[in-house]
Symmetry: C6
Subunit: 259 residues, 6 copies
């Protein structure tokens, strides 16, 4: 059953790097802020390489057991149920662990023998060693800006991955994305992107995170639905970036200049 | 079976924004202090859009399992029981997660694939991917004032939502609400609302939270039951806002001026 | 089977306030230090209103499950067992949650839909919404002095309750209570109460809590049993209030002046 | 089956206070440092009053469930097993909770309805209210010196108890105890007690706790077994009180002066 | 089946003290740094007294349940399994709790009634009181140097034990041990011991712990296997004592002077 | 079934030390930073000595139960399942606990009786003492640089091991490894190694960890796959070592000088 190809607009040579790493069985780490297309990139590469994709969004409580599998009791018998990592290893899938730095430390240990020359998964509870099927490839992502001072990947873990840095696209690329995803008028798209570029440089505002392309897409969709652009920017961009009245006023001024 | 329409008095264009966001499948975040009508607004919009409403009041220990579902043991067999998010996803309901910032971090991860173009729910324990039924819409609320310095939504999560700010109503609207909900005399209602407006501006009192319309409704109800207005304000408003004798005296003076 | 009426001596208009709040279905919060009769007041009002009373003494580990109910395994089947809140909701009882600020945060969430216009209890594990029977009324207590700087009710929760402040009784009322509860000689009772009044004002002693009427009742009972009043005050009052030798000496001097 | 009477040497009027409190059903709190005979006192009073004694040594993890009881699974059925408090309540026993301040906070809540006029035990898991049998009496102990700055009983809990302070005995009493318990020569006993009195006053040594009569009993027993008194004091007293070489030398000098 | 006698070389009168304490049923606490022969001493005394020995190495998570026993589910029935303390109490064994200060606090409480005149074990889960069989004796160890500032035995617990201090042996004793355990040349043994004596005095190096006789035994064994003494000292002693390059250089100089 | 020999290039006398320690049954501790060949060394020695190898990658939550084994419920019966340590002890295998300092403290206690003259494993849950089969040998690793200030092995545990320090190889050895593992051109390999040597000395960059040979292997593989050397160094080395823009620029300059 053919899947529609995922829309992905390459920025530099990231597709080539992915393919080299895949060919050499080198695990990949995608670094960069929210909304810079890391997940979409992995989806597109999985399609291009013809591999199934298994995605896990990691969080504070993601543990090795969640990933590898667990015993369930059914009909008085304990039955084993594969977790997503085990499924990916068996199927030779691209395994994408999103925000890996969020996960509990035992997750890293599961990945060690999968990320080096062994390419095996130890399933401790079953006392089983599972060799990764051909085509299995490990990809992780993390957000260095967000993690600063909080959670970090151990340096020794970092060294197990080839690393690709992602960042916000420049205006031309971003306009392509906005038009491609929402059908919004090209001029509105450009104004949205220019507004975002401007806000991304406003370091003195102390925003916890800069506006992603995702926010612009939301604003463009509201415009397409009929909302005035200025109001769309307020609810999709400004109110999502801050709760501080002064910062909000500053951002709203920037919006008013744009539209 | 027709449901009586929920009483909701719009403040600005929030109903339009909700409808645009619903049409474009953009999840919505309602920001604002306690008692500004966020929950009632969601109830009213669910009715207007003809969608069932599933509400979850989040707290410190609300976890993904609570929302998605769990296995129970019945008659020696494990049986799956849907949680409220799963029910909402299946039914195409409006899902309202009240005070989302209170919940445990794994909840956010459940919401990620529901809040972007995928609109799916991963049920890890069942190894199932559930596509949201038509009409499903995700709405969350949080209270920026209360959360300050404590719990915050991650900036990267905030960017997944179109955001609407709520605040206390002005006097005319508040009087309408008081009369509409309690049948209290219009003059008493106005005095109550003016009292609240005054107290909401008394920053130097150091109140943890400003008086909501809910407190005024309580006071109005006690007046309707026969209690003197001044005493009603003391027990419904003053004693609920503070335990500090000096602040209490200050508030009681304001009450004495009002009635 | 008629129950003997609980002895309760009203201080001001607290019985009227309780009745107004009950009539208007407004939940009630009783604030005040230990031993000022809050529990006894609720018992008396439940009798007067002819409602059953369900009391829960909350502590650090009181959770929603403790209050709402849980599944037990019996004969290989899971059976549901109602908790005290569920029993109160079904029976239309007065539900009294003593020291509510001590409980775990998920308890507050259980109370939200019970404390507003919905008057329902969500039983998540059973996926059941239970409407409160007629006569159900929610009453909570907390001790602002003790909690200071430690545990507080969230301001947004406080606004869900009409609040009544309790304090130590004045001498005449306290003497009535002592004589009524212990049969002690009226003169001894008066001396005990005057001693307590004096100690309650000794801020410079740094007592963690001031002596309650309960302590006086204990001393009076020991006197009735035959112990000398001075010694009764030492073991029932002084040694219960402090372990500091200097403070103890100061309090013992006050006792020696009284008897 | 007659039990041999426990050896207990009263210090002041503590036996009378216990009996008055027992007669008036007032719970009792024994305060004082380790090894001052609190436990032995309770044993002796239980014998004198002809009541069974149930003792619980509390610690950091003593919880309500440990005290009240729990469900066990036996033969596929859940069976209830009484905990020590429930057994004491049913049997009308003296219930002695040693070092109550160590226990978890939910223990205090269990004790509240047992310690006031209700004299009942709420068994939440069974939804049962158990009235205390005649003769039930609640006694707790805690060590104010040890607890200082660490764990304290809440002031509101303290006010539920009549309190008796215990301290180290004076020389004559202590010599009686040493001779009575070990059969040691009266002169050796006196030297041991005088040594202890001296060390108890050496505040500048910074000992975490002063030597109890128990240590003297140990030393006396080693002497009775044939060890030289000076060496007996070293291993039974000095090495148990300190690991600091300088403090050890200072204490050993005191021992050398004594023997 | 006769057991070969454990090699133990007494330092002072520790064997006599153990026997007196055993005769008088006084529990014993062995204090001292790692590798000073505490465990071996207990083994030797158990043999000499003809008692079985039960050893438990305590750690951060050793709990009362680990020691006393627990219910297991077998064939649908819960069956009780004795823990090591219960086995020792039934068998009249020497019970040796190594590094007792590491264990969780509930362990201490289990030991209280075993360590005083009662000599009983409360098995709470079975509601059983088990009297210790004749010959039961409680011995604990802890390392005051290591624990400093971290974990301590409560002073009130310390007073329940007769205490024996252990330290590193002097050169002659240590040489006997090295030759006896490894068969190494007496001259090499003396050089190893003199090296250790020297290092044990180097306070300015800031070593976390001084070299034990165990390290010397390891070095001697490597020498016996054919490794050059200097290299044997490096890998068995120096690299085990420090990871700091400067400290390592200092220690290696001391090694070079010795061999 | 013959296994292909593991490629391992000895640095100094580490193979001899391993063999002496193995012969004398002295447990071994491998110290050193990530990627210096500790794991590969153990694999090679296990092959050379003809022993099976059991490897456990330790992490924050590795507990004694994970290592020793646990009871599982199967068909209503509890069945015991050996953990990796128990399997190694039974099989006389080399047991390699990688990053032992990460594990929970109860793991250390399991290792104590395995690491001294007893060579036994206590399986508490089965009340079983298992003697290690001939050929069993315990090897652990830890990373002193990474652990600094965080997790440390207790000094008393360190003294149970003969210790071998590992460090990055010098250029000639590293070139051999790069060519041997990837087939990269010898000149490129030399440039990669010289680049790494240079970066390893750049203390002022504040890198959390210095580049390991593993990173060079990754870069060499990407070069072999067709990527330009400079770009290969950027994604395999620079982006894996830092997220700081300034540090990245500095490293990229070093790369530009190398290629």
């Amino acid at each position: 059953m053919p899947q529609p190809s995922t829309f992905y607009r390459p920025i530099t040579d990231e597709c080539a790097i992915f393919q080299y790493a895949f060919a050499q069985k080198l695990p990949l780490c995608l670094k960069g802020p929210t909304g810079t297309g890391k997940s979409r990139f992995v989806e597109a590469m999985a399609e291009r390489l013809g591999r199934p994709l298994v995605t896990v969004a990691c969080h504070d409580e993601t543990s090795a057991v969640d990933l590898v599998g667990r015993y369930l009791i059914r009909g008085g018998e304990t039955q084993w149920q594969d977790g997503p990592v085990t499924r990916a290893v068996r199927a030779g899938a691209i395994l994408y662990l999103d925000e890996i730095a969020e996960a509990r430390p035992d997750v890293i240990v599961v990945l060690h023998p999968l990320s080096d020359h062994r390419r095996v998964l130890y399933i401790e509870q079953r006392d089983e060693v599972l060799a990764a099927a051909d085509g299995f490839h490990l990809v992780v992502s993390f957000n260095p800006g967000y993690q600063r001072g909080l959670k970090e990947l151990k340096a020794s873990t970092r060294q197990r991955f080839v690393s690709l840095a992602f960042d916000y696209p420049d205006v031309d690329v971003e306009v392509d994305i906005l038009v491609g995803e929402t059908g919004v008028d090209r001029k509105v798209a450009r104004r949205l992107s220019l507004l975002a570029q401007k806000v991304r440089k406003l370091d003195h505002l102390g925003l916890a995170e800069r506006p992603s392309t995702r926010l612009l897409v939301d604003a463009a969709k509201l415009v397409q639905a009929g909302l005035a652009p200025r109001r769309a920017c307020q609810v999709a961009i400004v109110e999502s970036l801050t709760d501080d009245p002064d910062v909000r006023d500053g951002l709203n001024e920037a919006v008013a200049l744009a539209f």
